[in-house]
Amino acid sequence: MEYIYAALLLHKAGKDVTEEAITAVLEAAGTEVNDARAKALVAALEDVDIEEAMATAAVAAPA
């Protein structure tokens, strides 16, 4: 989930969620970054309304 938290952090900070930005955040946390995972995340986020997706958390059904 580190990659996701990084993406949400960037989003909340009002920054673009790019491969470079994710890499920078993760590296600052001292983790080794896997380029493919960063790429896959950015690709998956394309056209996604992060704000809306986060809002679904409040109403999501419990497991």
Partner: protein, 297 residues
């Protein structure tokens, strides 16, 4: 090709028929042995037409089928045991499971004949019939169907099992059942076995439980989704769920650990307020004066 040193005379048409069966066996990737007992000739004709483009139905004498099997390869010989009275062969290029499904779907309920054995319990349901009062009343009663007159119509007073599975159905009962439009027999091409590439498939294998496939697909879809989210492999299909999960975790942590972040202050205040109200109601249950007027409602 044919070596004729039999002493007995075999009519040419029989020889042709056997050859024809053998040719069919060789031409099609699979064939089945089908029971056609109890199918009226007219209905059989209709079924044969219905199969056009899917399968070829070949009705023949058992002796000729046996001879054709004997003269074919060893695999075909495995099919001998499925030949019984009133047998036909069915040839197709289809998948054996599909063939079975098609034949099952073509079966239809039919009246039972007098003297036939009940294939399962035959039940007459309570309720109205379409008959006006008349001799039919006595006819129904005489075969044990509890008939009566009600509001100018013949009715069946209570649900009754008129024949148990395996019992012989009398001529009289059979005709009453038919008049009541109760069709206890399923008639159709009954696939006994299929031979494909040396393997024999019987109905216990050929019958597909589609609901099981449906539930397996549901399960597989859930497993894939669970794995993709739990392992955080983001795709278009699951990114919303992953973000939602991360956001929930963050909110949970924030509220449970009482982290003062603007986004969750409303929840924290609400939680504190709820706790206060609960404790207030516990206190006022002991002594109303313990709480102020605003809380006494």
């Amino acid at each position: 090709m044919e070596e004729v040193h039999h002493t007995e005379h075999v009519p040419q048409w029989k020889k042709d028929e056997v050859e024809d069966i053998k040719e069919h066996i060789n031409k099609y990737p699979l064939f089945g042995v089908v029971a056609i007992g109890g199918i009226p000739a007219k209905q059989l004709q209709k079924m044969r037409k219905g199969l056009q483009g899917t399968a070829v139905l070949k009705v023949s004498r058992n002796t000729l089928i046996r001879r054709a099997f004997d003269e074919s390869n060893e695999d075909v010989n495995k099919m001998h045991e499925y030949i019984d009275s009133q047998t036909a062969l069915i040839f197709t290029e289809n998948n054996p499971f599909k063939l079975y499904k098609i034949l099952e779907q073509s079966k239809s309920p039919s009246p039972i004949k007098g003297g036939a054995v009940a294939p399962n319990d035959i039940v007459v349901e309570a309720g109205p019939t379409s008959f006006p009062p008349g001799p039919i009343l006595g006819d129904l009663q005489s075969v044990g169907i509890p008939a009566a007159i009600d509001a100018g119509k013949v009715v069946v007073r209570e649900t009754k099992t008129v024949a148990k599975e395996g019992e012989v159905v009398s001529q009289k009962l059979a005709s009453m059942l038919t008049r009541l439009e109760i069709y206890p027999v399923t008639v159709g091409l009954d696939l006994r076995a299929v031979l494909e590439s040396g393997s024999v498939f019987t109905p216990d294998v050929l019958a597909i439980d589609e609901s099981k496939y449906f539930s397996d697909i549901v399960l597989a879809t859930q497993q894939a989704f669970n794995l993709s989210v739990n392992a955080t492999y983001p795709t278009k299909d699951n990114i919303t769920a992953i973000i939602s999960k991360a956001a929930s975790e963050a909110r949970n942590l924030g509220i449970n650990a009482t982290v003062y972040e603007p986004d969750i202050m409303g929840s924290l205040l609400g939680k504190a307020q709820s706790e206060m109200l609960s404790v207030a109601s516990a206190a006022s249950a002991n002594n109303e004066e313990a709480v102020d007027d605003e809380l006494k409602e």
